[in-house]
């Protein structure tokens, strides 16, 4: 029987997306501050 661990998958995918987007935003924001 396939284990029911989808929760972990969702959590991991969210974390990776959040980290990536937050860092992208931080870069753009820091550049804007120096304009």
């Amino acid at each position: 029987m396939t284990p029911d661990n989808g929760g972990y998958m969702v959590a991991a995918y969210i974390v990776v997306a959040v980290v990536t987007v937050v860092y992208a935003v931080s870069l753009a924001w820091r550049v804007r501050k120096l304009k």
């Binding site: 396939t2 029911d4 661990n5 972990y8 998958m9 990776v16 990536t20």
Partner: protein, 233 residues
């Protein structure tokens, strides 16, 4: 065009490429979550592989590139190399955060444990810590030339350290083997999964490159501002 204009232009380019990379990442997400079959043995958690492994590889590549650029900097003393090395390091740290959180989230359901002191995990954890220290150190050194030299020293030492940590933990593990860990079946992966994984590697690398471009531009702008402040004082 002034140096500042060039830097702003580069930042803009970086932002556009990042935008494209993030769209591609969304594509990977859809492909992995919807169009890639679920592993019967490991369950849906196995799909974490498609984001964890590429993040890990990109992070480690980032650090390796930092180390290499550091060596070249020490030889050529061109500060642009230092800016590039530092940019790669910061992006590496960001990607490492993604890697270090997604890893245990995968480990718990599949291995039964959040963390395992195996060669790979331990090496990546300590390289991450080293580069966090690297970034903190850069923050505390004011003189750009001194900062560049110190960073190069740490970058090079980090590069040499990595294989040692790997061997250390490997030897420790073969001495004290853990009960069998369910290893993800990488070689015997069906075609559709392999395609998802490989495209994800490509996309994450694109994310890495686009981040480094932006970070480099930012570093340039920061140094410009520091020089201005020095002149004005």
């Amino acid at each position: 065009m002034t140096r500042k204009d060039k830097a702003l232009r580069l930042a803009r380019t970086g932002q556009i490429v990042t935008g494209a990379a993030l769209v591609a990442l969304a594509g990977i997400y859809i492909r992995a979550l919807v169009f890639t079959p679920v592993d019967r043995l490991q369950g849906p958690a196995q799909k974490i592989l498609y984001v964890h492994a590429p993040a890990a590889v990109s992070a480690l590549t980032a650090f390796a590139i930092c180390g290499i650029l550091s060596i070249v900097y020490l030889g050529l003393r061109d500060r642009r190399l230092d800016r590039a090395a530092a940019s790669s390091a910061e992006v590496g740290v960001a990607l490492s955060v993604a890697m270090l959180i997604s890893g245990p989230l995968w480990g718990k359901p599949v291995w039964g444990t959040w963390w395992a002191w195996d060669a790979r995990l331990t090496s990546t954890l300590f390289i991450f810590l080293l580069f966090v220290g690297y970034l903190i150190m850069r923050d505390s050194v004011v003189d750009p030339d001194q900062r560049a030299r110190f960073s190069a020293v740490i970058g090079i030492m980090g590069l040499v350290l990595v294989p040692f940590i790997h061997v250390t933990v490997y030897m420790f593990r073969t001495l004290h083997p853990d009960p069998t860990l369910l290893k993800p079946s990488a070689p015997s992966m069906p075609g559709v999964m392999l395609v998802t994984l490989l495209s994800s590697f490509g996309v994450f690398f694109m994310v890495y490159v686009s981040f480094v471009i932006q970070r480099y531009a930012l570093a340039d702008l920061q140094e410009l501002r520091d020089e201005e402040m020095l002149r004005d004082s």
